[in-house]
């Protein structure tokens, strides 16, 4: 049993003592099935060949247990009840059933794959609980971990060595965040590449050190002393500390062995490379400090905090200034954190931290992907995605500089920065429906409110969420479902042949009717209605009135989105966007994503307080991104870890 299940179980055990009476199946579960499930999965109708009316709650029966496990996932992902149902359970009702299934399966020793900790599945943690005051009393439950340093930090360590491809480079984010727990698998290729880099870097450094060694010898030092001094200096540069006597002996051993086998200065080169390859250099450790027995938590040490903060806001190891700030024993760590975060975010000369915020928005809105969507050139329109991405970066930076109602501004602003880039020869005003001879200007251009509204109608976002030849309403709906509604969609089943029919005479909406087949629509209903209003634009991001010479249909109907203020008929993308931008729920979901980006992991219920505080800070400070990040990076979730589990407690 993994983390989420444990939560559900503990919740069930605490809250369920009274609610789950003698025979919970008969009292709670069967009535639930009767009300919400049996109409479609009973004796008469068996949609998807699934029948639930004869279930007895017996998890010892393998077939029944499988059906329960499948039902659990269907409720978890909001797949069931289907949008075509007449009645929907409340979240609390559904959760009670989920708890019961999880608990019963566990009791019968049956494992269910848990996804809540995995990248892309963070939304499985119930939103209403995360933002419920009752949950804010929980303590952090995230365990200490080991991080590989960032690609940027590695490049910094071996600077000077020729690097064609960075071995630590993380994959493209693909709708999630680039830098995330679970993305750090280490493989033999990485080991080989980083070894080569360390050797190349050390070759130069060892040659440079020779001069100092020769000088020392001339002044009367022994060769051993001179070598020790050279090693010590390299440790200071790379590890920022002095090696212990024991470490020094081991390194001298390596130096002598290699020198005797291969000659000078191969020994020193090997030692230098070994310092770069030390786990201490290539990984970040946390949770090495003493634990606080009152809370059952481990506080990150001051040095660990400095390191975590530096990586969070600069993607690099801490500089001397930051390390010194954390050495000030007169101030509590939280206060130092807050001062340093402010300093870094406000630094006008080195906007590194501000750029990290930009990176968050790039990955959250996932618009840089526009550059990867290949489009054939067509007559009368020159498509060049980098210019669009550049414009949108500028728009985000502007919102960050103003730092007021950042999310709402980005979702609703009619003012775009167009052609602010240096590549204006490649840019194309037609992408924005501006005349071909439109003169670039550094000032924002205001579009009519019924033509453009914020990032979701910006050509860069539209192109990023399109295919080679068409719009992609499914991907657009998927984005809104996850990133603003905080919902989930089940994984694509293996048998699905995800392809739309090709017919030049049909609009995309018409071609997408195949997804309304029953087995498809239970998932597609989570995405298509949210994405279809964006048919207002073509796949190059241009506003249009017609599709195939017919008026383009941009209407939709949102059912059971999980956020009542969003549900209902939709007449245009702009109406949908306004509803989303005015929703507190969506704002909170946004806070959850900021949390994930800066913590590099999914939130758990133990982070409820940090999330609630962060949202409050955002609201109290007029939608300030700086206030939100300041709150998160000085929260308990950032500063504490749960006590390490001893190895004997880990299941085999």
């Amino acid at each position: 049993m993994t983390i989420l299940r444990n939560f559900l179980l503990s919740m069930a055990l605490v809250s369920g003592a009274e609610s789950l009476a003698d025979d919970p199946f008969e009292e709670r579960i069967r009535p639930f099935l009767q009300t919400y499930c049996i109409a479609c999965h009973g004796e008469e109708t068996q949609k998807g060949k699934i029948r639930l009316d004869h279930l007895r709650g017996d998890m010892e029966d393998r077939k029944e247990a499988e059906l329960w496990a499948r039902s659990l996932e269907a409720i978890e992902f909001g797949e069931m009840p289907s949008d075509k149902a007449d009645k929907f359970p409340t979240k609390a009702q559904a959760r009670l059933v989920q708890d019961w299934i999880a608990q019963s399966l566990d009791r019968a020793g049956r494992k269910v794959e848990d996804k809540a900790g995995k990248e892309g599945y963070g939304n499985l943690i119930p939103h209403d609980l995360l933002f419920s005051p009752a949950e804010s009393k929980r303590v952090v439950t995230a365990a200490a971990r080991l991080w590989r340093i960032s690609p940027k930090a590695l490049a910094d360590i071996v600077r000077g060595a020729r690097m064609v491809s960075n071995p630590f480079v993380l994959d493209k984010p693909h709708g999630n965040f680039r830098d995330f727990k679970g993305k750090y698998a280490f493989n033999s290729l990485m080991a080989e590449q980083v070894t080569e880099l360390a050797l190349a870097h050390s070759e130069k450094e060892a040659k440079n050190a020779r001069k100092a060694i020769v000088t020392m010898k001339e002044k009367g030092s022994t060769i051993d002393e001179a070598n020790r001094e050279a090693i010590k200096r390299h440790c200071h540069n790379v590890l920022r500390r002095t090696p212990t006597e024991e470490e020094m002996e081991v390194m001298m051993g390596l130096l002598k062995k290699v020198d005797s086998e291969l000659g000078v200065p191969f020994g020193l080169q090997a030692v230098y490379a070994s310092i770069i390859l030390k786990p201490e250099t290539l990984f970040r450790f946390e949770g090495m400090g003493a634990s606080d027995d009152d809370t059952g938590l481990v506080a990150l040490s001051r040095r660990e905090l400095a390191t975590s903060l530096a990586f969070a806001l600069t993607d690099l190891a801490p500089d001397g200034k930051l390390l010194r700030a954390f050495q000030n024993q007169d101030l509590p760590p939280r206060e130092i954190l807050r001062t340093e975060i402010r300093r870094m975010l406000d630094d006008e000369n080195r906007p590194t931290a501000r750029n990290r915020l930009l990176q968050f928005f790039q990955e959250y809105f996932d618009y840089q992907k526009a550059e990867d969507v290949f489009k054939d050139q067509i007559k009368g329109h020159r498509h060049w995605a980098p210019a669009l991405v550049y414009d949108l970066n500028a728009l985000v930076m502007q919102a960050l500089n103003e730092d007021k109602q950042v999310l709402k501004t980005l979702l609703t602003t009619p003012e775009y920065l167009v052609h602010v880039n240096s590549h204006r020869d490649h840019g194309n005003p037609l992408a924005y429906n501006l005349p071909p001879d439109w003169k670039p200007s550094p000032k924002p251009y205001e579009f009519p409110k019924d033509q453009r509204m914020g990032i979701l109608t910006h050509p860069a976002w539209l192109v990023a969420h399109s295919g080679n030849f068409d719009n992609d309403p499914i991907m657009r709906g998927h984005w809104i479902r996850y990133k603003l509604l905080g919902g989930s969609v089940p994984d694509i089943p293996i048998t699905v042949d995800a392809k739309l029919p090709e017919d030049e005479n049909m609009t995309l909406r018409e071609r997408m009717r195949v997804t309304q087949a029953e087995e498809c629509y239970k998932c597609h209903s989570k995405m298509n209605p949210l994405g279809l209003p964006f048919e207002q634009f073509d796949h190059f991001g241009r506003f249009r009135f017609l599709e195939l010479d017919k008026p383009v249909d941009v209407t939709s109907k949102i059912v059971n989105s999980g956020v009542p203020e969003i549900d209902g008929e939709i007449r245009s993308p702009f109406e949908l966007i306004e509803r989303l931008a005015n929703s507190t729920h969506c704002e909170q979901v946004f806070v959850r994503y900021v949390f994930r980006f800066f913590m590099g992991r999914n939130e758990t219920l133990g982070d409820a307080k940090s999330l609630q505080d962060a949202h409050k800070a955002y609201v109290d400070n007029d939608g300030s991104m700086n206030a939100l990040v300041l709150s998160l990076l000085s929260s308990d979730s950032f500063m504490y870890r749960s006590k390490p589990i001893s190895l004997t407690q880990i299941e085999p």
């Binding site: 033999s188 070894t195 050797l199 291969l262 090997a270 201490e280 450790f285 054939d376």
Partner: protein
């Protein structure tokens, strides 16, 4: 006296001291004494699809897979190979064209990534292997000095390609994309001069690192986590490899290919030529019995073939179409494939020229050509055309055959998993199924056991 591998290596082995009779020499000596050597496999994987019609000689009427109802075995000697395969004309009696095997479990798409040899489904967002791939499993069953070598070419300058071959789920093995790096990795131990010194420097460093990481691992206890374990295991593997190479230094010295400009060329196609040389030498020298060679695998928006005068991107000519004889994309596909089959043919001929046992090395080697996008640019996996050069004597009966399997789901239809079962059987592994099965097909009749039509 005829100089055979046996004599050649016998001399070599004795010269280097019979106490240290190297593994390959032992193997070859055994061959000469009537025992069989391990079957060899080369997987050549190219991106952008291989349309069934392009694998069909002009003189054989082409049927779409939907229309193929029964198994057909056509003698190739009566037919001229299609243009893309023309360099194999001389080797026609040793060439087999396979049509109609399906691989729906991979999901198709622009690329199946490692799905083509692992038979699992990947997506653009997640290409991580979900199981061992056939190449690695074959290599593990009958390893040379190393179980497997992977080399290839990409249009860009990256060092390696991951998530093609894998030794287990989520354990990808790197395909080395730079010929010089591949040379250093496999042959520097015997290269002399600075290269050899660097080999030993690295060996010392790796030994030291294994010890150092182990110490940290122990100090951290439960805090260390899987990241550090993976780090340690990576160094363990590298260190072990250095010693294996060192042990076989003399053999590697003989086998090493000649370094030339192509090994460091800026031109992608020249780099692949060098990689073919290197892979051929690896097989002949016994470095490995299995090699995987990729040609711009997984690459779509790229122009890997500028060096042979194809200045269109894979995407561009892919979209011109390739699934009809007169489709506009076909001449481009043919040009690219013709060049690649030229390299395959050269490799096959070198193996054919190398005596082994009572025949030559090609008698016991299969070079399997496939695309990582099964059937076409936007592939579906309903069929997966393949070209195989060579044979496995006494185990399989390949060569001179054009085989048509019944279309997807029809009686007698088989999956590519069955082909992999056949390969496994030839190395003594009796496995029922390989990779993920296709839930829409009959498991027993269509996806289990070897392709009896190919077995000896």
């Amino acid at each position: 006296m005829r100089v055979s591998r046996r004599n050649l290596l016998k001399g070599l082995a004795l010269g280097s001291g019979s106490m240290l009779l190297p593994t390959m020499a032992q193997r070859i000596l055994a061959n000469g004494e009537g025992k069989t050597s391990a079957p060899r496999f080369v997987f050549v994987i190219q991106s952008n699809g291989f349309d069934a019609v392009q694998a069909c000689p002009d003189s054989i009427p082409f049927q779409k897979y939907d229309d193929r109802d029964k198994f057909e075995n056509i003698d190739l000697s009566d037919h001229k190979l299609p243009k893309g395969l023309a360099p194999l004309e001389e080797l026609k009696s040793k060439t087999t064209i396979l049509q109609g095997l399906s691989g729906r479990c991979t999901g198709g798409g622009h690329s199946t990534h490692g799905g083509c040899i692992g038979l699992y489904r990947t997506s653009g967002a997640n290409t991580s292997p979900q199981g061992i791939t056939i190449d690695y499993q074959l290599g593990q069953a009958k390893p040379g000095i190393l179980p497997w070598v992977g080399v290839g070419m990409a249009s860009g300058a990256q060092d390696a390609l991951m998530n093609i071959s894998a030794r287990a789920a989520h354990k990808s093995m790197p395909i080395i994309l730079k010929p010089e790096k591949a040379y250093n990795a496999f042959f520097s131990v015997a290269a002399g001069g600075a290269r050899e010194k660097n080999f030993h420097l690295k060996r010392n460093l790796l030994d030291y690192m294994v010890g150092d990481v182990k110490k940290t691992r122990a100090a951290l206890g439960s805090l260390a986590g899987e990241e550090l374990d993976a780090y340690l295991s990576a160094y363990d593997q590298l260190a072990a490899r250095q010693y294996k190479l060192l042990k076989n230094k003399e053999i590697l010295k003989r086998a090493a290919p000649e370094l030339d400009d192509r090994f460091t060329s800026e031109v992608a196609t020249q780099r692949l030529e060098a990689q073919f040389e290197l892979a051929t030498s690896s097989l002949i020298g016994g470095l490995s019995n299995v090699a995987t060679i990729t040609s711009a695998a997984t690459e779509i928006n790229a122009q890997p073939y500028l060096g042979i005068g194809v200045d269109l991107s894979n995407h561009a000519y892919g979209h011109m179409g390739g699934n009809k004889r007169d489709a506009k994309g076909v001449p481009h596909y043919e040009k690219v494939r013709n060049w690649l089959f030229g390299l395959i043919s050269k490799m096959a001929k070198r193996l054919e020229e190398t005596p082994e046992g009572s025949g030559n090395m090609l008698d016991n080697t299969l070079i399997i050509y496939m695309s990582d996008a099964p059937d076409t640019h936007h592939s579906t996996g309903y069929e997966w055309p393949l070209v195989i050069v060579g044979n496995l004597k006494d185990k399989m009966k390949l060569g001179g055959r054009y085989l048509n399997f019944p279309g997807y789901g029809k009686p007698g239809h088989r999956t590519i998993g069955c082909l992999y079962n056949s390969f496994l059987r030839s190395v003594g592994t009796n496995q029922e199924t390989f990779g993920r099965v296709d839930p829409d097909l009959d498991l027993r009749a269509m996806q289990t056991g070897p392709l009896t039509e190919l077995m000896a």
